[in-house]
Symmetry: C2
Subunit: 340 residues, 2 copies
């Protein structure tokens, strides 16, 4: 039975939505121990609204809240008793097995790096998201933890996400691609050219550069990129699904009239298939612990799925395998893992 610390204060929609997702997860996965972290005076009444359904969910008080405007340093130094810091602390001190947070991403990354430290040989953590493609799921790393990456960071991401793809998505020998602005080896910035060279020489199943439009064909299990680029890629895609589906609905209605009500079923099936909420959160890979980050705008269903994902990760030797993979690929740095 795993124990999940849930940062209840960070979501854009406020604690009510996080509490709702937690209660739903509690009903669906009663064996998982759920610990809501945040202002007890707010969380307890919200839990009480759910009556017996919320029985067994714990609350750990944290007096402060990190806002989206706080810088990562403000958050970890200035608001020591924030729900983010307290949640991470529960894992750091062995009182929980995983953290789930919809809060300020920078603050979560900083707090987790600072309190949990990094896996041996890993220099920076990266956020990996699972994106549905026409043929399965592609992991994209990094989507915003690290906006000043060095070549070795991206190489380590490749090794870690490969392990994740193998353990979580059952991919035998994950195909790793490097996101670039052309398929030729010499394309792109100095950073990506160096990463290309290092990945080519490694034991990973590196299949080379890819361009943006190759994302959807399912030819890659892991795609490596800078945090800024990955963040834009993710959000552009997330915005495009609903925009296009709205257009399709409008267009169908025009051509087929209300009589063709069947299309709604088709559209909603697609919405589910491509709904990122189904995939829950995104793991922060490289920290010495399990940390799942959700969108700030997540709704209850996304929180519930993120809790399930955190639980899945706890049950696997994910971090041990990732550390070994970084070493085996020759990407570990001399000495202990460090935040420097």
């Amino acid at each position: 039975m795993s124990r999940i610390a849930i940062d209840a204060m960070g979501g854009d929609k406020g604690p009510r939505e996080v509490v709702l997702g937690t209660v739903q997860a509690h009903e669906k996965y009663p064996d998982i121990e759920l610990i809501l972290v945040g202002r007890a005076e707010e969380l307890e009444p919200l839990l009480a609204e759910h009556g017996d359904k919320a029985k067994g969910i714990k609350v750990v008080h944290a007096s402060e809240v990190v806002s989206m405007e706080d810088s990562p340093m403000d958050a970890i130094r200035g608001k020591k008793d924030s729900s983010v810091n307290r949640s991470v602390n529960l894992v750091a001190t062995g009182q929980a097995d995983a953290i789930m947070s919809p809060g300020n991403t920078g603050a979560v990354v900083a707090s987790a790096t600072f309190q949990l430290r990094l896996l041996k040989g890993v220099r920076r953590p990266g956020i990996a998201v699972s994106i549905p493609t026409s043929r399965g799921v592609t992991m994209v790393i990094d989507v915003g933890a690290n906006v000043y990456p060095k070549p070795e960071h991206l190489c380590q991401y490749a090794a870690m996400a490969g392990v994740y793809s193998h353990l979580i998505w059952n991919v035998e020998k994950p195909r790793v691609g490097l996101l670039n602005i052309g398929s030729e080896n010499a394309k792109g910035t100095g950073l990506v050219r160096q990463v290309h060279e290092q990945l080519s020489r490694s034991n990973l199943n590196f299949v080379g550069n890819l361009e943006g439009y190759d994302l959807w064909d399912g030819n890659y299990d892991v795609i490596v990129c800078e945090g800024f680029v990955g963040n834009v890629l993710l959000k552009v895609s997330e915005g495009l699904w609903p925009a296009l589906l709205k257009q399709v609905s409008k267009s169908l209605k025009k051509h087929m009239g209300e009589s063709a009500g069947e299309w709604t079923k088709a559209i909603s099936e697609l919405l589910t298939r491509y709904d990122y909420a189904e995939y829950g959160g995104a793991p922060l890979l490289g920290v010495n612990g399990i940390c799942i980050i959700c969108h700030g705008s997540s709704e209850a269903k996304a929180f519930m799925n993120a809790i399930r994902l955190a639980n899945d990760c706890v049950g696997m030797a994910l971090n041990k395998c990732m550390q070994e993979a970084v070493h085996a690929a020759g990407f570990d740095q001399a000495g202990e893992g460090s935040t420097a």
Copy 2:
């Protein structure tokens, strides 16, 4: 009557497709003077296949071809008699009014910068694409000309694309957004924070940071970003439309059966609306001339539309207005335009 120099050798599909697009443009816009540049021994037989339809299209011989593998410097120094260089040279020497090229983007940018020079006060050219959104057209600049931008480059792009949006898309006071990984002012890299500050102080209609999912709501007329990021954004989006529409078709067929053949009409209408080929090419803004870049993988229709766009640009005081706008925004650098 404008004169368009067409780099016929650069496309991924070979000169046949470029010639076809040129012949189609010639039929549709007989007043435009079209000059195909490339190996005469290849181009002339291809033109001859079209018989009288191709009458009036000129051929200018260029003995060399820049491949996608050539670096920009190889292309402009090592292959002086390439179709790219010769096309640009026709404009530089007053023998044509605009260039259209589907070739190696880096080579086109380098050749145009080197031979045409830059507008006064402009430091780097940028490629601007027009992206259809739910409420109109958004210009994104840069999508790959400049992968090492400085803050002043992005600010100049904002001013230039604002003029383009005004003249080509008739937007009265273009709303300029800065692509970032969060909406808060302090988010992102040092580069985007500096650009944010400079745009805020300028006379442009700067409305602040946006995130990837804000792209599709049509709240911005101009979106400024680094070349690497813009290139990924563009190609991810281009790949996603057909991927999703394929899924929608499959899903509709499953739910509605063949009887619901009407949906094909709706889908194909959408494909047209969001077909980038409809928008032709992307202008390289900042060079002292008109230069339209197409996808290497373009088909005849895209070439035809790029030719129309080049012709539209020639008819306007685009470069003069852009130079004035860069100056009025306080973004011009001391001294003459320079490639340094």
